[in-house]
């Protein structure tokens, strides 16, 4: 003290000696929340995860993250009904992110640049039979192959793709796109046997020495309805019509074609008929808002000149004409007959009333439970018979391509576990990053990119693809509209807004860390985190 100047008794010190962390009653923690898009995806894609890479222009990495869950992005980007976009938080801000269009861009990019899947894991020596080369079977085969299993697909039809080829019209899914993605799966070493109908599953497994089987034969038998009809009345089912569209001989339906039903298949048939020069009329017993078809498909069909008679049932079919009865909805919303009849010209009637599953391959297999024409499966996708799994349209669920792909992935993981004699336990899901967890102030205003549509004349006369894709600039823009809900995207906000410098920036790609020695627990970082990736947790005091 003697050496210090007059009136100075202490050495100068730094405030770092003052550990203000002791003031805190709640501490911020970083966490990942589940983005609503990921939560909604039937194929379990990590959408926010692959958009993250697309945002920086690294499309190959984005594609690689995407195909960890779904091997068919170019197909998905065309035919998926994108529940991800319906649940997208950005929809509450301006418009949902065009996830589907970015997915298509990535899929097309992969096809254009010839990207291949990562090599499979070391061979396990196990053999798995996949029955059916539709979305579910292809997905299961892909995942099983990447896990190192030997996979053989046996397909009854002449080409792979299932309903993606024989159900979805070309104007929605060009076949070269499908072919490219199927081929990439086969390049993993998957064997595909076409024109091979499995008559009896246990026998086929025994013959081929398979350790397990995944059944995904789909639902290809068109449901019939009892319509009183004259002998010569031309009544066909929608599945056969769509299937025959693939062959050389287009179906002979005549000029006036009545399509009976209100689902997506009815719309597909009507739009296909329009393209072949026919005049389709859809007859559906309920109203537009109650139709199972997606509204945008109904809208596109109407734009193309498809006529729709709502609230009508077919009472009688004769050569050249049908009789329809007008319906009205009762208070419960069920259609009731009114006794008013009307005649419509009809060269043929196409029934689009849903499909049944051909379950003949399962005859005599023990332990199976069949209910309402579908095979019952446990949560692990296994049927009542040990080692036989099933998925896609043949099990009870929503019948879409994406659900099928999801089943394939889930089944593959469980088959893998079953073969290793362990139980597959998925990681517990994070809590959902709902809109109220975000601070949307920080996101720039940016409207959704509109995808180009084919001109109307070509939509009515050709099977060219209706909806166009994005190019690189607008795909990048669209990817960057992602809010990154629940997952840090390194915006530096927490690092910037802390009044106490208690956030440590670890560098690009490494995120951040709290310095609890100094964090006073004010909570500004949580309040100002745009994407809801910080949570305040009470301290034990």
């Amino acid at each position: 003290m003697a050496n210090k100047p007059f009136a100075i008794t202490l050495k100068p010190g730094t405030s770092l000696a003052n550990l203000t962390g002791s003031w805190r009653s709640a501490r911020p923690v970083y966490l990942n929340r589940l983005p609503p898009c990921n939560n909604a995806c039937p194929a379990g894609e990590n959408i926010q995860g692959w958009l993250f890479h697309a945002e920086s222009g690294d499309y190959e990495q984005a594609w690689r993250v995407l195909v960890r869950d779904n091997p068919l992005p170019a197909v998905m980007g065309r035919v998926c009904y994108h529940p991800c976009e319906t649940s997208c938080n950005r929809g509450q801000l301006d418009e949902a992110v065009g996830i589907n269009s970015v997915e298509r861009f990535l899929g097309d990019e992969a096809n254009k640049r010839g990207w291949k899947f990562d090599a499979p894991a070391a061979a396990t020596g196990k053999k798995v039979l996949v029955v059916g080369a539709g979305p579910s079977g292809l997905s299961a085969a892909y995942h099983l192959a990447r896990m190192g299993h030997q996979v053989e697909i046996q397909e009854a039809g002449p080409l792979a793709g299932g309903m993606m080829r024989f159900g979805i019209p070309k104007y929605r899914l060009p076949r070269e796109v499908l072919d490219a993605e199927v081929q990439r799966i086969l390049d993993l070493g998957v064997t595909l046997k076409l024109n091979t109908k499995v008559e009896h599953i246990e026998q086929s497994m025994k013959d081929g020495g398979f350790d397990a089987a995944f059944l995904a034969v789909g639902a290809h038998i068109g449901k019939r309805a009892m319509i009183p009809a004259g002998d010569a009345a031309h009544i066909v089912d929608a599945v056969s019509v769509l299937r025959s569209m693939e062959g050389e001989d287009k179906p002979m339906l005549g000029r006036k074609v009545v399509v009976y039903g209100g689902g997506n298949t009815a719309i597909d048939v009507a739009r296909s008929v329009k393209r072949m020069g026919g005049e389709p009329i859809i007859v559906y017993r309920r109203t537009r808002d109650r139709a199972p078809a997606h509204d945008f498909e109904i809208e596109e069909a109407l734009q193309e000149g498809v006529l729709i008679k709502w609230l009508s049932t077919i009472k009688q079919a004769e050569v050249g004409e049908i009789t329809v009865e007008k319906m009205e909805l009762d208070e419960k919303g069920f259609p009731q007959p009114t006794g008013e009849f009307e005649k419509l010209e009809a060269d043929s009637v196409v029934l689009a009333l849903g499909q049944d599953v051909d379950l003949s391959l399962l005859e005599g297999v023990s332990g199976l439970e069949i209910k309402d024409g579908t095979v019952q499966v446990a949560p692990n996708m296994m049927t009542g018979h040990d080692g036989i799994f099933a998925g896609g349209d043949m099990v009870p669920s929503e019948r879409t391509v994406t659900v099928g792909v999801g089943h394939g992935k889930k089944a593959a993981r469980n088959i893998d576990a079953w073969l290793r004699d362990i139980t597959y336990a998925p990681e517990p899901k994070h809590e959902i990053a709902t809109f109220d967890k975000l601070n949307p102030w920080y996101y720039s205003d940016a409207d959704k990119t509109v995808r180009p549509m084919l001109d109307m004349i070509r939509r009515q006369t050709s099977f060219d693809e209706v909806q166009g894709g994005l190019d690189e600039t607008n795909a990048l823009f669209e990817a960057r509209r992602c809010l990154s809900c629940g997952n840090c995207f390194e915006c530096d906000n927490c690092y910037g807004v802390c009044p106490d410098n208690a956030v440590i920036k670890l560098g690009p790609g490494k995120g951040f860390e709290f310095n609890y020695d100094y964090c006073k627990g004010c909570g500004i970082c949580e309040a100002e985190c745009p994407c809801g990736s910080i949570k305040m947790v009470p301290e034990d005091i």
Binding site: S15, Y443, S444, R481, S484, E490, G496, P499, G523
Partner: protein
């Protein structure tokens, strides 16, 4: 906008940083090597807007002056919480003299540097609204009038917080403070008093006057850096919410600053030689209640014995700011 906004990059201009931006497009605060001029361990309350505003401003000034900077501090919260003897949080040469003479001391430091030929070393003076708009006002006006080469930064939290929340000439009408209690016919601070120091600074015709808030970091950094590129007397008035004095939640500090700007209550603009050159436009206009309700100092305007006429009056003041400074885009003003 008063500065070049970052074109659309997911979050564009609004967040502190962005992994997709090039280094030259990033804010000072996003840098791992920012100077952290006021370091951890300071004794400001949880969620202190002034501590945050001071780091934003001084870090930007440090970056622009190549770390050749001396700070002069008036008495006030900022001085007390950063430098309880013998500790200091400051990471630059820093001097405190009295409550009312920061501008004069800064003038002296600038003069000394000039005499010594150290032209590369720059001077900032800083203080709260009490030390600036009341007690230090004479020295400040003198510094402006002589056009001394000092950047004066006022951190405005609208009262004397350090001594127990007494009214200053920057306290808004109706606000409760220890000296303007919410009693009687016209509870809280009265209408028609106080002063607008940014406009008084402009009236001196000095080279640069600007306002900013802790909610718009990019704008704040742009203004500090621009001021540091100029010489002569410059004044920046930064709006810094005070959770303690305002009775607001500590996590609402930035939100309240944002609402002050978005309601028009605190106009954000810049002026050169007495002429307004640009304003920060309101992005999503909000009614004044949104700003008032989270603050207990305005609690008496709502609830059982509400004073809707006073809220209306405050709204009228905000609307006048919007008209006067043109804070709304034309289409938004009509829509």
């Amino acid at each position: 906008m008063s500065f070049q906004p970052v074109k659309f990059y997911q979050t564009g201009t609004y967040t502190v940083g962005n992994r997709l931006l090039g280094p030259d497009e990033r804010s000072v605060q996003s840098g791992e090597l920012r100077s952290n001029s006021i370091n951890s361990g300071h004794r400001a309350c949880q969620g202190c807007g002034e501590a945050l505003g001071a780091r934003y401003a001084i870090d930007a000034a440090m970056a622009e002056s190549n770390n050749q900077l001396i700070a002069v501090n008036a008495t006030g919260c900022l001085e007390v919480f950063s430098t309880p003897y013998p500790e200091s949080s400051w990471q630059l040469p820093w001097i405190h003299s009295l409550f009312g003479n920061a501008a004069a001391v800064a003038t002296g430091v600038a003069a000394a540097l000039k005499v010594k030929g150290k032209t590369e070393v720059r001077v900032v003076a800083q203080g709260g609204d009490g030390g600036t708009t009341d007690i230090g006002f004479g020295c400040l006006s003198g510094m402006f009038e002589r056009n001394d080469d000092v950047l004066y930064i006022c951190y405005d939290n609208e009262a004397y917080m350090n001594t127990g929340v007494q009214r200053s000439s920057a306290t808004p009408p109706t606000a409760r403070t220890a000296t303007t209690m919410p009693v009687g016919k016209e509870p809280g601070n009265v209408f028609g008093q106080g002063k607008n120091v940014p406009e008084i600074a402009m009236a001196h015709g000095i080279p640069y006057v600007a306002t900013a808030t802790v909610a718009d970091l990019r704008d704040l950094e742009y203004k500090v850096r621009k001021a540091m590129k100029m010489h002569g007397a410059r004044y920046i008035h930064i709006f810094v919410p005070c959770p303690l004095g305002w009775g607001s939640a500590s996590h609402d500090t930035i939100k309240l600053a944002r609402l002050a700007k978005e309601t028009g209550t605190f106009p954000v603009f810049e002026a050169e030689h007495g002429e307004v050159t640009s304003v920060l436009k309101i992005r999503k206009k909000q009614p004044i209640e949104e700003y008032l309700k989270p603050q207990k100092r305005f609690a008496h305007l709502f609830g059982k014995h509400a004073h809707p006429e006073m809220v209306e009056h405050l709204q009228a003041i905000a609307d006048r700011n919007i008209r006067k400074y043109g804070l709304l885009d034309e289409e938004k003003a009509h829509g």
